[in-house]
């Protein structure tokens, strides 16, 4: 009777390039293989293979997808816990295994692991600490021991020069949310069997939705340690384990399931209502009129430059055009320069950059100065004449002077000058459809009470147009 055999969660053959379709690509005696075997066995034992998504790191275990017959995402270096977080938002019941080396998790990926732990993401992290960068040929890792010779510490790591080894289990233990933190070692048979129990618990926690479990696995890299596999395991006991004690740091697996903060399911209109003041882009047929408008709206931050751009882009989409919106603003939210480029066209748009506008809406003086000369001959320049004293010098463009800020001030909210300019622009171009504007407006106005005010300003702008410009 067979009592132990290749776990069924492994593929029968490992379809990869080069030799050996039934063996791993790992060096003889590498700890990754042992860790994989423990995990593969548990996937079957816990009956979770079908819903497991294995997150491969960058490092020697990058090819884990060759071996385990589960879902897999090969993540950018250090990002596996962030990728797992993303999956968790849409797959409540997936089993997420973030399997990461010490270069991956403790160097380039420190931000991701700390914040995933801090959020208590329901996932299981297997952190393979082999005190070195294996895949790239044996450079120092954050976990490399004092005095340990590596490719990048040929004299031996020196804390003064290279910093001290980091105990990631200890770092995790400084964070409140993780439910389970333990360090294990693959140095002896007894410790391998113990590791199996710990792996199992770390996975069971996830099945039970208990939250974030972190298992640090001391693991041999005989090749880069320049030892034979048996010697490497003795070295672990003599040198690695004294610095990185093999023990449990936290076990909250008996605690009740933390409450579920999942975002409730929402219908599309509920989401739109939550994020905007209602309103929606109606389904439309593509516009047939041949048109390309490259609009630059510019002013100070706070003048509603960016939101006017969004409104215009949404309106264009609702009218059946392709549209892009590209904001540009300084570090300051208010007072600094801001501009938005909107392109809309019945053709597809290559780049959203508006370098040569055919419409410039200048809400203040510096905007006119900056962009006047960029406008395409035959284009349109609209000037907020309340704030812009100078005249447009170009004589090869259409120019409209609108006292927009004055009109806005009369109705009490200066920041509605943007809507006035935009409405007049659309009307002037024969593109204004007031009904459609009404529908789209709430999408780009955050506050409900501002919707009415903006609608009023639209009416005012249309009346102005009929009176002064028609």
């Amino acid at each position: 009777m067979i009592v132990k055999e290749k776990p069924k969660a492994f593929y029968d053959t490992f379809e990869r390039k080069g030799a050996g379709q039934e063996v791993t690509h790992y060096c003889p005696g590498c700890g990754h293989g042992t860790a994989h075997k423990l995990i593969a066995e548990l996937l079957v034992e816990l009956d979770i293979q079908d819903r497991t998504i294995f997150l491969s790191p960058v490092g020697c275990s990058v090819f884990a997808y060759y071996y385990m017959d589960t879902g897999n995402i090969q993540c950018a270096h250090g990002r596996a816990p962030a990728v797992g977080t993303g999956i968790r938002r849409t797959h409540k019941d997936a089993i997420l295994i973030s399997y990461q080396g010490d270069g991956d998790l403790a160097a380039i990926g420190t931000a991701e692991i700390i914040h995933a732990a801090n959020r208590g993401e329901n996932m299981t992290v297997f952190f393979i600490n082999n005190a070195i960068y294996g895949m790239t040929g044996g450079q120092m890792a954050p976990t490399t021991l004092e005095g340990q010779k590596t490719l990048t510490t040929p004299l031996g790591r020196s804390s003064g020069r290279d910093g001290n080894p980091i105990g990631m289990a200890e770092v995790m233990d400084a964070i409140k949310a993780p439910v389970y933190i333990e360090r294990v070692s693959l140095s002896t048979p007894g410790k391998v069997l113990k590791a199996r129990k710990v792996f199992k618990k770390a996975l069971e926690n996830q099945i039970d939705k208990k939250g974030f479990s972190f298992v640090e696995v001391l693991s041999p890299c005989p090749i880069n340690w320049k030892m034979d596999p048996v010697e490497a395991r003795s070295w672990m006991q003599e040198h690695l384990e004294p610095l990185y004690p093999v023990r449990n740091f936290r076990d909250g697996s008996h605690l009740p399931v933390p409450h579920d903060d999942f975002i409730p399911f929402m219908k599309e209109d509920e989401i739109i209502n939550l994020l905007s003041s209602g309103g929606a882009i109606p389904d439309v047929k593509a516009s047939e009129s041949d048109l390309e408008q490259r609009v630059k709206i510019a002013g100070f931050g706070g003048q509603g430059v960016l939101s006017a751009g969004i409104l215009l882009a949404n309106y264009a989409i609702a009218s059946g055009y392709e549209a892009t919106w590209l904001p540009s603003y300084g570090p300051e939210m208010r007072g600094g320069k801001a501009n938005a480029g909107v392109i809309f066209s019945n053709r597809s748009i290559g780049s959203p950059v508006v370098a040569e506008p055919n419409v410039l809406i200048a809400l203040n003086s510096p905007s006119l100065t900056s962009f006047e000369n960029d406008v395409e001959p035959g284009g349109l320049i609209m000037v907020n004449s309340t704030l812009v004293r100078e005249e447009v010098k170009r004589d090869d463009v259409d120019v409209l002077y609108i006292p927009a800020s004055e009109m806005a001030r009369e109705s009490g909210v200066l920041a509605t000058a943007n809507i006035i300019m935009l409405t007049i622009y659309l009307k002037y171009k024969g593109l204004a459809d007031t009904e459609l504007l009404r529908k789209v407006l709430p999408l780009s106005v955050k506050r409900k009470d501002a919707v009415d005010l903006n609608l009023k300003m639209m009416e005012k702008a249309l009346a102005y147009y009929d009176r002064e410009l028609a």
Binding site: M1, K4, A19, E22, V23, C27, G29, L193
Partner: protein
């Protein structure tokens, strides 16, 4: 008889199992396998089918442990 059966062409000759078997059932032979390694061999006499060699071995399919009836291998 119990036995740990080693698949010659799946073994990388790392000796970890040899060094771990409490009953000294395993050794590295002199023959070279398809991968170019001198691979591990087992003897059934003292094997208790404890599974230790299986767990410490890094290769997924190199070791199968039988309790009682084991296939005949060299």
């Amino acid at each position: 008889m119990n036995r740990s059966v080693i698949e010659a062409d799946l073994c990388k000759g790392c000796r970890v199992c040899v060094n771990s078997c409490p009953n000294h059932c395993l050794s590295i032979g002199s023959e070279i396998n398809r991968l170019g390694y001198q691979y591990a061999r087992s003897t059934p006499e003292k094997c208790t089918a404890c599974g230790i060699c299986f767990y410490v071995c890094p290769e997924p399919g190199a070791i199968t442990v039988y309790k009682g009836e084991a296939p005949d291998v060299k």
